[in-house]
Amino acid sequence: MKQILKVLLLMLVTGSAGFAFLYSGIYPMGADSPHTSLTYWALETLREHSIERASRTLVLPDLSSPDLILAGGADYNEMCSACHLEPGKRGSDMSAGLYPQPPNLTIPPFLHRVDDNSERTSNLAREQFWVIKHGIKASGMPAWGKTHDDQRIWAMVAFLQQLPRLDSAQYQILTARGNTEEAHH
């Protein structure tokens, strides 16, 4: 009986301490003060597992299609490069100032180059699709699915598969909207 009382008391104390903390205003909210490593670990674990689970069943289209890559390239350049950079750019106001920091998508996601059919690459593509469509809570990453259909999002995913291999001249060609847009109408 005493044991139970002790436990209840402890819960009450920690609970009110938690509330006191929330209302005290001492938590540093600024994007320029990084998380403690424990908070960082907790948030990252939460995000990774959530996205992995949510994207598991997505069916990949053929991501090596030149049409898809070209459609995605122009969109990426206009909507994403300010945060996720482009070949030859090492930083931007957005990439430096946001927290969590937008990952530099011109860098290969894995240290070892994996062949295109590997399970890991496909899973990454699925996760990228999910993240682009739904965004990430409490980060600068918007949910593009509210204003763009799945086809446009897969196109960006297709482009992202090639982006780490592009130099800035190739990037320019693949992303320039130019006047080629209406060619196929």
Binding site: S65, I69, D149, I173, R177, G178, N179
Partner: protein
């Protein structure tokens, strides 16, 4: 229906289509830049692998850029017909952006 009211109805309908077009890729045309395909001639072609999706995509882009060179001037000069064309094509242009 009088011409007057038909015109205002048309104006309203046109206005209503604006949000639908808001995310047509061509909306982003303000940033339109032409692909700089000269860099492709410069680089040695022997290193190019025609199975590489990057190479295929670049070829495709530069081919259609050359094709469009001539017609683009007319297209730019007559802006309003181009806009109307985009509206009518809105529905299916999303489903298969390149076909």
């Amino acid at each position: 229906m009088s011409t007057q009211s038909f015109r205002s109805l048309l104006a309203i309908l046109l206005f209503l289509t604006v949000p639908a077009m808001a995310h047509d890729p061509s909306e982003h045309m303000r940033a339109a830049e032409n692909p700089d395909c000269t860099t492709m001639d410069g680089s040695s072609h022997e290193g190019m692998d025609s199975n590489d999706p990057i190479v295929q995509a670049m070829m495709k882009k530069c081919m259609s850029a050359m094709h469009k060179e001539a017609t683009s001037i007319e297209a730019e000069a007559t802006e309003s017909p181009a806009l109307g064309e985009r509206m009518t094509e809105e529905g299916h242009s999303h489903d298969h952006p390149e076909s």
